[in-house]
Structures are given as structure tokens and as C-alpha cells.
Amino acid sequence: MSDNPQTTQVYRVYIKASPKAIWDAITKPEWTERYGYTGLVDFDLRPGGAYQVRPTETFKKESEARFGGELPEVIIDGEVVEADPPHKLVHTFRMLMDPGMAAEPYTRLTYEIRELDDKVCSLTLTHELEGAPQLASLVRGDQEEFGAGGGHAWVLSELKTLLETGTAFAE
């Protein structure tokens, strides 16, 4: 895994919320189940700590009904590289829901939260995807029409809505 600018994806969203609220929404399962793919995150927030995502019961049922087969217990895994709450989080990421993607190398996600004036923060998400073209396509939202969700742009849009209005689209 190296920093190849051409396979990296960068997303930014402005959210009217505190850095702490945004940090919690990324790192706590009671928040992550309320937007985007609704996965339950489990972070051990120190360098080398484990990162795992488990499906909710609803997600598991829907996914199995739509795509067949059984979902693994852990659908995403990785390792924490850097955790500087509530400003910076770096962790590796591998998608295990699909054998093709599970065989791709670990990718790397960096979340940066910056407080701007008037209670607005920018959240920048950088995903280094060298050697993982299938995951790159998924997180870019290219497979939305096949029921794979809209990728990072969709997730961040829902995160913004949840934090600013208190409800997500799915609720």
C-alpha cells in the first residue's frame, strides 16, 4: 500500500456540528448504525488496535435476501494506524462481504476534522486504494444500481443530514 495519487479518492463535507460530535458519529456503533451502510463499528482507538464492522440484524437479513448466501460475522476489518480524537483518525480497511474484494490488499482511510468559524467543521475523507480496483468502484458509488449503496459520497451526505437534523434518510 503506497500513496498513489491516481488511485486515491478524496471527499469533503461541511457539517454544522462540533468536532466531538463528528468524531463520535464515525467511531461509535450507536451512531454508525444510523446512517449509510449502518454497520456497527468496533474501534480499538490506539495504533495497532483492531477495527471491525459487524452487520446489524436488519442489514444481514436484507443483504442475504437480496444477494443470497450468508454474511460473515465481520464484514469489514482493519487496523488503527493513528487516533487523535477528535481531529484525525487513520485506519486500514478491507471489505469482506465479497470474496473478490476480500482478496484485495488492505486500503487506508484518513478522516480529518477541522473546526472552521461559525460552528462549522470540515470533514475530509481520504481513501488510498492502491491495488483495490473493486473496492474503489464500490466506494465511488459505481455499483449503486446493483444495490451496493452510493459509496462514500452517499455515506457522508447521510452523516451530515443525521448530525444537522437528528434524523437520517433511512429512519
Binding site: D3, P5, Q6, T7, T8, Q9, V10, Y11, R12, V13, Y14, T124, T126, G141, G150, A153, W154, L156, S157, K160, T161, F169
Partner: protein, 105 residues
């Protein structure tokens, strides 16, 4: 000013839309690479990129001595969710209701 205003303004220019198309084809390009695709001065391209960046449609990132430009689809996603998503939901719920009515009768 509404959050959407700079996005619509940035999209209202063909050169800027072309720059976004270039980044959609291949992300993470330098100013020099983008400039080579346009019949325009370096200063002109920089000005357009700055407007795209102010609207949040382009995010730049430094790596070593180079500065790379990335297409950020989030502002367009937000406009989609606000202007298109709600119409689609209404249509879906109308169809769901129709189905329920038909099945009742």
C-alpha cells in the same frame, strides 16, 4: 447565502464542467496535467480551479512537491438528496400505496 449557491454557480460554466469531467475520468491530477487539456492560460485554469475548490467540488491534496486535484462528489450528492431523492421517495411510496390498494380489492 445558501450552501448550494456556489455549487450551481461553479457548474454554470462549460470550462469548469470540462475540468470536472477530466477529473471524473482520472482523478488526482496536477495543474500542469489539467492545463495541457485546455486552450487557456495557466492563470485562467487556476482561476476556474479555485472557484471549483471554493464550491467544494474539487479538493486538493499535497504529496511531496506536487499538488493533486480531486473531484469531490459530495456537494452534488447533497443536491441529489435534496432535489431528486425526495421526488423518487414520493414516487416509490405512491407505488407502494397503489400496490396495497390493488391487493385489498
Amino acid at each position: 447565502m445558501n450552501d448550494d449557491d456556489p455549487v450551481f454557480k461553479a457548474l454554470a460554466d462549460p470550462t469548469r464542467r470540462f475540468l470536472l469531467d477530466l477529473l471524473f475520468e482520472r482523478d488526482g491530477r496536477t495543474l500542469t496535467e489539467l492545463e495541457s487539456e485546455l486552450e487557456m492560460t495557466r492563470f485562467g485554469v487556476m482561476k476556474h480551479l479555485r472557484l471549483l475548490e471554493e464550491a467544494g467540488l474539487v479538493v486538493t491534496r499535497r504529496s511531496g512537491r506536487e499538488k493533486f486535484h480531486y473531484l469531490n462528489p459530495v456537494p452534488i450528492q447533497l443536491i441529489h438528496d435534496r432535489w431528486i431523492g425526495k421526488f423518487r421517495e414520493r414516487r416509490v411510496s405512491a407505488l407502494t400505496e397503489l400496490k396495497a390498494k390493488l391487493e385489498e380489492s
